[in-house]
Symmetry: C2
Subunit: 459 residues, 2 copies
């Protein structure tokens, strides 16, 4: 008889993976290169090092080495909060009455409350190694800023966080968490940068946007001695660091000889999705599995399902390198009623390419349906999920119910990226039934698309 699979699968400390999984090494057709915004030529390491730390830049451009060793100094920090449990959702399976097996990788057990710490740890470590004394970044919903604040405190490096103004007003506790860890918080747009001042002149009452906060953080990094900028999603090196999620999940499943039929992740910039699928997608690209991969995005910010596959800027000030990606246009602004993260206009280039080439499915969900799934999950599995993670929960429940209909005993794995402790105002809106489900009109999308730069798209 097969060994009973425990509810919570923890790897032992010495089983925590020692390598990140670089999915690009497995792709026969690579994503198009990042372009320098001035020359429109493929960006070099030297170009990118003006903004980013050196080792992450190497990782950004590396599309040949499948396994990248995790430095001992990062492995050490990982012991402060990893391994993260892989949970068999026995309670949810029973409540749904599905023959499917449901698993989720729970990345919300650390204080930042999400998977973002995996890349924050790496980026703070490399900055310290390189001799930098400070870093800048931006945060919207707050998970990334919290993660960076923790990592910066751990490695002893200063951190300035540009926090989207409306978010810093709505989430004083997120702000306070980052400050408790020693970070300096600046509501964005601010008068500390040219980019910020320019936006404030145009619209003094703006609540800010992620794209604007990025512009400010990049500008400050470039103008400050021994300082660089760190980003929590979208870029390839971030997905590389997040592959620890997939590596751990696969190691745990392999111990019980379990092969997922469906892997589901929520998708904003793609860091969690790219992380959880990495080693499994590698098997698929090698023709060794038929696993389905499903990205779930908010209907209010549908870069996969309604976006264009085109070169676009990462920020609204159009200062970052250009990335070929699924994008709604750098000027796209999602509905103010949208709770939580997953509000970014673009999508990581690897995931965009995999989607474009048919290896990755995508679907969009409205937030009321997402919160229905979140509350159902919370009551049954005990964990209050982050709004972002709940997109994946919604799809996992739908797939499990489809199995119930067909009688198929599929294995479903999804990424539970984080917890909802700092999202209670969204839960309050849901409980009070004041949440809206605005879906961008074609006109709203057109206004976003108009901001995509007009350059040769096969550069």
């Amino acid at each position: 008889m097969a060994k009973k699979i425990p509810t919570r699968l923890y790897l032992s400390e010495d089983e925590i993976p020692k390598f990140w999984y670089n999915l690009r090494a497995d792709m026969k057709e690579k994503p198009d290169p990042i372009l320098h915004p001035g020359t429109l030529q493929a960006a070099t390491a030297a170009d990118l090092e003006a903004v980013f730390c050196k080792e992450p830049v190497k990782q950004e451009l590396n599309d040949t080495d499948r396994l990248i060793p995790i430095p001992a100094g990062i492995q050490e920090f990982y012991t402060a909060y990893r391994p993260a449990p892989l949970v068999r959702a026995y309670f949810l399976e029973k409540a749904l009455g599905t023959p499917a097996e449901i698993y989720y990788k729970h990345e919300g057990t650390n204080t930042s409350g999400s998977h973002k710490l995996n890349s924050a740890a790496a980026q703070a470590f490399y900055a310290k190694e390189e001799g930098l004394t400070s870093l800048t970044t931006e945060t919207g919903a707050g998970q990334w800023g919290s993660a960076m604040a923790m990592a910066a405190a751990f490695y002893g490096i200063k951190l300035t966080v540009y926090m989207v103004k409306v978010s810093s007003e709505q989430k004083p506790y997120r702000k306070s968490l980052m400050e408790t860890y020693g970070a300096s918080l600046i509501p964005s747009p601010s008068d500390t940068t040219e980019a910020g001042r320019k936006i404030l002149e145009q619209d003094p009452n703006t609540g800010g946007s992620l794209g604007c906060a990025i512009s400010e953080a990049v500008e400050t990094a470039v103008k400050t001695d021994k300082c660089r900028y760190v980003l929590g999603s979208v870029l390839n090196h971030v997905l590389l660091h997040q592959s620890i999620i997939g590596q751990e999940a696969k190691a745990a499943l392999d111990k019980f000889n379990v092969k997922p039929d469906i892997i589901i992740g929520c998708a904003g910039g793609g860091s969690n999705l790219g992380g959880i699928i990495a080693p499994f997608m590698g098997e698929k690209l090698a023709g060794k599995s038929d696993t389905r991969f499903i990205a779930v995005e908010p209907a209010s910010c549908p870069s996969f399902t309604r976006g264009r596959y085109a070169y676009d800027f990462g920020d609204t000030a159009k200062t970052t390198p250009l990335i070929k990606m699924q994008t709604l246009g750098n000027g796209f602004i999602p509905s103010a009623n949208h709770a939580g993260g997953l509000r970014y206009h673009g999508m990581n280039s690897v995931l965009s390419k995999l989607y474009h080439d048919g290896f990755l499915e995508a679907r969009a969900e409205v937030q009321t349906d997402v919160f229905d799934a979140a509350v159902q999950f919370a009551k049954i599995e005990g964990i209050l999920p982050a709004p972002e993670s709940s997109h994946a929960i919604k799809a996992a429940i739908d797939e499990a119910l489809e199995c119930k209909r067909t009688g198929e005993k599929k294995v479903i794995l999804f990424g539970l990226t984080g917890t909802g402790y700092f999202d209670m105002s969204a839960y309050m809106a849901y409980n009070a039934k004041t949440m809206s489900d605005h879906i961008p009109t074609d006109e709203e999308l057109a206004r976003g698309f108009a901001t995509i730069p007009d350059i040769p798209q096969n550069a």
Copy 2:
């Protein structure tokens, strides 16, 4: 060479203890019995069953059976969030430069954010088993109410929570968390009970107190069909359920042949402290160890260090049974500036007896010192602790620094009862340096002592 102890020790699912540890069975001198408030005679099971569920009443009165089997239905729920990790604080040891080994049992990894879920699970289970349809309780800081809301959702039983009014106003997110899990919240004092109406008549602007909320919850339970009252601390059956903490910690330490020299717990009503020390204190009472046990309480509510050992009521309306305990008097009101929990006037009777007989030490700390320790711990170990837990952190750091001074390589274990995600307003006050450290004056204590009933104390 000894096996390297991992940073996070997780028992496997089948190693989760199957028995609670009933410390009273080891005590040669038992605590004095609970008294019926009318007759002043030892309360019988029948007396207590008017208020509490039947099986917990049996446990309340059982001072002979050392090991009590944990029912399968509770073990099942435990798999939803246990085992809780025992963490070796390598990072903290290094930062302090101490030769001491520091361990903490981290009970904050579940959504309620604290150890309270251990007893909530048991009490909801027994209520369901007994055929009850609803429960009432009270909550101050919110951990207990959150835990009960989760457990009630899991077992499918209705829950009404009387939340201390000032707390429900200061912590809307805690309130919303409980409501998300389906609980009904009533700010206390309320007009739903005689006890509440009486207090509102006397003082319409009162912010409420735990003692008053207890009176309301008990009254409603007694007057409602198929309904009982559940309490999250102070009582013996609660400590019994919390002994899972000590049982797990001991099982994990035994695997590495580690014997704690000092065990530290924060103390409000005593549930965490009684839980973590149970099996270790059993060894001490049997003469098999010299372990020191230290209770850490807030200087603003010092029931051990400045209280009296006397029979007192559990609530301000003087309706509950009488307990012989360390008490500040049921009418004692801690400073409004005190953040977090640990605000109860009394202390569990077993812990009070052990303190009185010299088996347990106690110390009191002011909250600024406690938050200093909390932020130091957060930056070094990565976990943002609850204000309550930080009392234990403060004492653990002090003991580790004492080891540094003496060169002794002691083994220190403390209870990290929970996380501080819902206590950010307290961290904000600390960061803004607006926190006060009021210690009750002798006059304030005297006003509390005057409310201790004048009955024969050796009844």
